[in-house]
C-alpha cells in the first residue's frame, strides 16, 4: 500500500489502470477496483464450492476461483506495466481448459457408477 501511494505521488496524480479510450465514467478505475471484483469472485467460488454438493456446480465454482485469480493477475500485470500477469493467465486458461475436459469426463464416469452427482457419496479415501 505504501508503495502504491509512493508511486502515485511519483507520477503526479492518481494512477489509473484505464486505457485512454475508456468511457469517461470508468476512467478512474484503480487497481483496487479490479482486486475487489477478483476477491468477490473468489469468495463466491469458495462459498459455492463448500456449500453445494453437485459435482458440476462444484466444478464450476473452482473455475470461478480460477478466473478470479486470473483477473487479479491481469490487473497486477497492467499495474506493473509488464506482461508477466497476462502470460500467466494464458497459462492458467490453457490448463483450466485441459482440466475442464478431464474433470467433466471424470464427472461423467462418476455419474455412471452411482447414478448421482452428489459429491459426498464418494468417501472411499476415509481412513
Amino acid at each position: 500500500m505504501h508503495a502504491l501511494l509512493a508511486d502515485s505521488t511519483l507520477t503526479g496524480g492518481l494512477l489509473t489502470l484505464a486505457q485512454s479510450d475508456f468511457p469517461h465514467a470508468l476512467s478512474t478505475l484503480t487497481l483496487n477496483h479490479y482486486l475487489f471484483v477478483s476477491a468477490a469472485m473468489f469468495a463466491l467460488g469458495i462459498i459455492g464450492f463448500l456449500t453445494r454438493r453437485n459435482l458440476i456446480i462444484m466444478f464450476l465454482c473452482t473455475e470461478l476461483m480460477f478466473q478470479a485469480a486470473g483477473l487479479a493477475l491481469i490487473a497486477f500485470g497492467r499495474y506493473h506495466l509488464n506482461f508477466d500477469g497476462q502470460s500467466f493467465v494464458i497459462f492458467v486458461l490453457t490448463i483450466a481448459a485441459a482440466e475442464a475436459a478431464m474433470a467433466l469426463a471424470l464427472v461423467v464416469l462418476l455419474f455412471r457408477r452411482r447414478e448421482s452427482l452428489d459429491a459426498d457419496l464418494w468417501a472411499e479415501l476415509k481412513g
Partner: protein
C-alpha cells in the same frame, strides 16, 4: 613394469663399468654437499621389486618348482653386488644423492612459499651404506637358506613367501636409502606389511595370524609417534629432507628463526620419533609383538625379526642423531638410553626362563636391540651401529641354526625334548654355527659381539651423568644383562646341542608331506618313552647343501665381523662409516672433555676385562646348571637327560617368581586386560549406542509423522470432499489472519 625393464637394461650395461663409473661420478661432482649417484643405484631397491612382480607372475602360472627362490636369490645377489659397487665407488665422506621422481610434492602459499617435497629419492652415506650392505647380503643368503627351508610348500605358498620376501627387501631398502622422512615411512610401513604377511605365513594357524596382526597393530601405535614426529619436524623445520633438515638443525634455529634450545619441539620431536623407533624395534612397552612374531618361518625370523627390520628403529635414531643432540638437556637421549637398558634387562629376565629355543632367541633380540639403543643414547653411535652390524650376522646365524633344528625335527623347539645334536648325523655344521653364534651373543672375548657390546657399555661409563642422567647406572645394568645373556645363550647350547642324544619330533609331523618317508626308515634314534605313535617312526633329517652353505658363510661372516673392529681410524670400520654420516657425534663437544674413570682406569680399556668376566661367568653358570656330563659341559656339567637339569630345584625353590618369568611376567595378559579388553568393550558399547541411540533417534523422527498421522487420521480423514475443502479454506484463512496480524 616398463620402468623397471628399461632400468634393468641400464643396469646390465652399467654394472660392468659400475665401479669405475661410480668413481668417475664422485670425482666429477664432488661438490661441497653430496654427489649425485649413478642411476643404477636405484636398481638396488627396484630389483627386489622386480622380483615381486616375477614371482607373482610365476604364482599366476602355478609354478611348482623352486624357480621363485632362484629368481629371488639371483636378484638379491645382484642387489648386494650393486650395493658393494656403490660402497667401493663411494668417496668415503660425501652423501650420494639420487632422485628418481617426485613422490609427494606440494607447494602452496604466496608465490608457492611453502613446500612439502618428498622425492622418491635415495641418500647414501656411511650409515645407509652400512645398513644396505648387511641387508642385501643377508637377504641374499637367507633367501638361499629359505629355498631349502620352505621346500615343503613349493607352489603357491612358495611364491607367496618369496614375493613377500622380495617386497621386504624393497621396503627395507627404501627405509634405509630414503632421502627424506616420508621415504623412510614408506619403507617403514612396507616392512611392517611384509612382517605381517610373513609372520602369518602359516595362515591356517590361529596363533600365527594373531601374531601377525599383533605385530602390525603394535607397530602402528609406534608409527603414530613417528607420523606425529614427522609432522612436528615439518612445522618446525619446514622440510622432511635429510640434508636440508640437518643443515637447518646445524644453524641452531628453527626455520622461523627461533633458537632451537628455546622451543619445546627440540625434545618433543625426538621423543615422538623414539616412539616410532621403539615400536619397530620392540622396546619398552612395545616389545610384546616380537616374541610372538617367532610364529613365522625361521628365515623370516632371522632376516626380518632379528637382523634387519627390527634394527630400523636404531637406524631412525642414528639417522636423526643431530636432532637428538640439538636438545641441550638431552631429554630424548636419556629416554633412549634408559628405554634401551631397561628393555635389555627386562627381556633377559624373560629369556632365562623360557624353554622354546626360538623364543629365547626372540627375547635375546629384544635385549640386544636394547643395547643398541642404550649405545645410541649414551652417545656411542659407533658402538650401537657396530652392534647392529655384528648382531645382524650372529643373530641370523643363531636363528638359522635353530631353524635347521626345527626343520630337522618337525618343528620341535622345546629344549626339554631335544639334546645332543652334535652326535646326530648331519647336524655338525649346525652345531658349529650355533656355537659361533652363541659365543658372539654372549660376548666371548675377541668375537664381534664382544667388541661391539664393549663399546656400548664402556661409553655408558664414559658419558658423564650430567649429560645423560644415570648413564653409569645404565652401564651397570647392561653389564649385568651381559652376564645373563651369556647364561641363557649357553643354556640353550648346552641343553640342545651337546650331551646325550634325546629327541622328540614336533607337531608339524603331519604338516609336511615329505616326512612320509620316515615310515620306511623305521625307528628313530630316540628312546624317550613319551613318543606318540607317529613320533615312533620319526627320523630327523639333517640339512642339505643350501642350509649348510648358508650357515657356513654366516659363521665366517661372524668371525670376520670381529676383524672390522681393527680397520680404519675411527674405532673400526663401523666407526668410519658412522663418521661419514649424520650419526656422527662429537663426544668431546657434548661431554665437555671430562675424563671418566672406572676402577681408576679409562672405561674403554678396562671394559675388555670386566665384560669378559661377566661373559665367562654367565657361560660357567650355564655349564654348571645345564651342561651335560663330560667335556662339552666344560667338565662341570652334570646333565644326563634332556629334561632334568641342576637348575630345576632352584627354579622350584623360587616358585612364584620363576613361574612368573616363564609366563613372561604376564605382560601380554596385562595388556589384554588394560588395553584390548576396554577397547573391545568400547567398540561394543559404540555399536549398541549406534544402533539404539543414533539410529534410534533417526527412526524416532521417521516414525513420528506416521504414528501421529495414524492417530489424527482416524478422526479427520473422513473421505468426504467437502470436509477437506472446508479445512483447507479454514487453514488458509488462519494463515492469512496470522500474516495480516504479524505484518501490519
Amino acid at each position: 613394469m616398463g620402468v623397471s625393464m628399461t632400468t634393468i637394461m641400464d643396469a646390465i650395461l652399467s654394472a660392468a663399468v659400475a665401479q669405475h663409473g661410480g668413481e668417475a661420478a664422485h670425482a666429477a661432482v664432488a661438490a661441497s654437499h653430496g654427489v649425485t649417484g649413478p642411476l643404477w643405484i636405484g636398481l638396488i631397491p627396484l630389483l627386489p621389486l622386480l622380483g615381486v612382480v616375477l614371482v607373482t607372475l610365476l604364482a599366476c602360472f602355478n609354478e611348482k618348482s623352486k624357480m621363485p627362490a632362484w629368481i629371488s636369490v639371483g636378484l638379491l645377489a645382484v642387489s648386494f653386488l650393486l650395493t658393494l659397487f656403490a660402497y667401493l665407488g663411494w668417496n668415503g665422506h660425501d652423501a650420494i644423492h639420487l632422485k628418481l621422481w617426485d613422490w609427494i610434492g606440494l607447494s602452496w602459499g604466496d608465490l608457492r612459499g611453502q613446500t612439502l617435497a618428498a622425492g622418491f629419492a635415495f641418500y647414501f652415506d656411511g650409515l645407509s651404506l652400512l645398513w644396505m650392505l648387511f641387508v642385501t647380503g643377508l637377504a641374499c643368503l637367507i633367501g638361499l637358506y629359505a629355498s631349502e627351508y620352505m621346500e615343503h610348500d613349493a607352489g603357491l605358498g612358495y611364491c607367496r613367501f618369496f614375493a613377500a620376501f622380495n617386497l621386504f627387501v624393497f621396503s627395507m631398502s627404501c627405509l634405509v636409502m630414503g632421502d627424506n622422512l616420508l621415504m623412510l615411512f614408506l619403507g617403514w610401513e612396507g616392512v611392517g606389511l611384509c612382517s605381517y604377511l610373513l609372520i602369518g605365513y602359516f595362515y591356517k594357524k590361529k596363533s600365527a595370524v594373531d601374531a601377525g596382526m599383533k605385530a602390525f597393530v603394535v607397530n602402528r601405535i609406534g608409527d603414530l609417534g613417528l607420523l606425529m614426529g614427522m609432522l612436528l619436524t615439518f612445522t618446525t623445520f619446514g622440510t622432511l629432507q635429510y640434508d636440508a633438515l640437518f643443515n637447518q638443525i646445524h644453524t641452531g634455529l628453527t626455520a622461523g628463526g627461533t633458537p632451537l634450545s628455546q622451543t619445546w619441539q627440540v625434545w618433543a620431536i625426538p621423543l615422538l620419533l623414539m616412539g616410532g623407533a621403539f615400536g619397530k624395534s620392540a622396546q619398552l612397552f612395545f616389545y610384546v609383538w616380537l616374541p610372538d612374531a617367532m610364529e613365522g618361518p625361521t628365515p623370516v625370523s632371522a632376516l626380518i625379526h632379528a637382523a634387519t627390520m627390527v634394527t630400523a628403529g636404531v637406524y631412525l635414531v642414528a639417522r636423526m642423531m643431530p636432532l637428538y643432540l640439538a636438545d641441550p638437556a638431552h631429554i630424548a637421549l636419556t629416554a633412549v638410553t634408559w628405554g634401551g637398558a631397561i628393555t635389555a634387562f627386562w627381556s633377559a629376565t624373560i629369556a632365562v626362563a623360557q624353554f622354546d629355543i626360538k623364543r629365547i632367541m626372540g627375547y635375546s633380540t629384544i635385549s640386544q636391540l636394547g643395547y643398541m639403543f642404550a649405545g645410541l643414547g649414551v652417545l656411542a653411535t659407533t658402538g650401537g651401529v657396530f652392534h647392529v652390524f655384528t648382531h645382524a650376522f650372529f643373530k641370523a646365524t643363531l636363528f638359522l641354526s635353530c631353524g635347521a633344528v626345527m626343520h630337522g625335527f618337525a618343528g620341535q623347539l622345546d629344549m626339554r625334548k631335544l639334546s645332543g645334536l652334535w652326535s646326530i648325523n648331519g647336524f655338525r655344521v649346525v652345531v658349529i654355527a650355533m656355537l659361533i653364534g652363541c659365543l658372539n651373543l654372549s660376548g666371548f672375548p675377541f668375537t664381534g659381539g664382544y667388541f661391539s657390546k664393549d663399546m656400548i657399555i664402556a661409553e655408558a661409563f664414559v658419558t658423564p651423568d650430567s649429560v645423560i642422567a644415570g648413564s653409569s647406572w645404565a652401564g651397570w645394568l647392561l653389564l649385568l644383562t651381559a652376564g645373563m645373556t651369556a647364561y641363557y645363550t649357553f643354556r640353550v647350547f648346552f641343553r640342545v646341542f651337546v650331551g646325550p642324544v634325546v629327541y622328540e619330533p614336533g607337531e608339524d609331523l603331519h604338516a609336511h608331506d615329505d616326512h612320509e618317508h620316515a615310515d620306511a626308515h623305521g625307528h628313530g634314534h630316540g628312546h624317550d618313552d613319551a613318543h606318540d605313535h607317529a613320533a615312533e617312526h620319526f627320523h630327523p633329517h639333517g640339512p642339505k647343501w643350501a642350509i649348510n652353505l648358508v650357515l657356513t658363510l654366516l659363521s665366517v661372516g661372524c668371525i670376520l665381523s670381529a676383524g672390522l673392529y681393527f680397520l680404519g681410524d675411527h674405532h673400526g670400520w663401523a666407526g668410519g662409516m658412522v663418521h661419514a654420516s649424520s650419526a656422527v657425534v662429537d663426544t668431546h663437544a657434548v661431554e665437555g672433555g671430562e675424563e671418566a674413570l672406572l676402577f681408576g682406569q679409562p672405561p674403554h680399556e678396562i671394559m675388555f676385562y670386566i665384560s669378559a668376566v661377566f661373559g665367562f661367568g654367565g657361560i660357567l653358570l650355564a655349564a654348571w646348571f645345564h651342561g651335560p656330563k663330560g667335556i662339552a659341559g666344560l667338565l662341570i656339567g652334570g646333565r644326563t637327560t634332556a629334561a632334568e637339569v641342576r637348575m630345576d630345584p632352584i627354579a622350584k625353590a623360587l616358585r612364584p617368581i620363576s613361574t612368573w618369568a616363564v609366563r613372561k611376567w604376564y605382560v601380554d595378559e596385562f595388556y589384554h586386560l588394560v588395553l584390548v579388553t576396554p577397547l573391545k568393550i568400547f567398540a561394543h558399547l559404540f555399536h549398541w549406542f549406534d544402533k539404539l541411540i543414533v539410529d534410534g533417534l533417526v527412526n524416532f523422527f521417521g516414525a513420528t509423522p506416521r504414528v501421529s498421522s495414524d492417530a489424527i487420521g482416524e478422526s479427520t480423514q473422513t473421505g468426504v470432499l467437502h470436509d477437506y475443502a472446508l479445512r483447507m479454506v479454514a487453514g488458509i484463512a488462519v494463515v492469512l489472519v496470522v500474516v495480516v496480524l504479524v505484518l501490519f
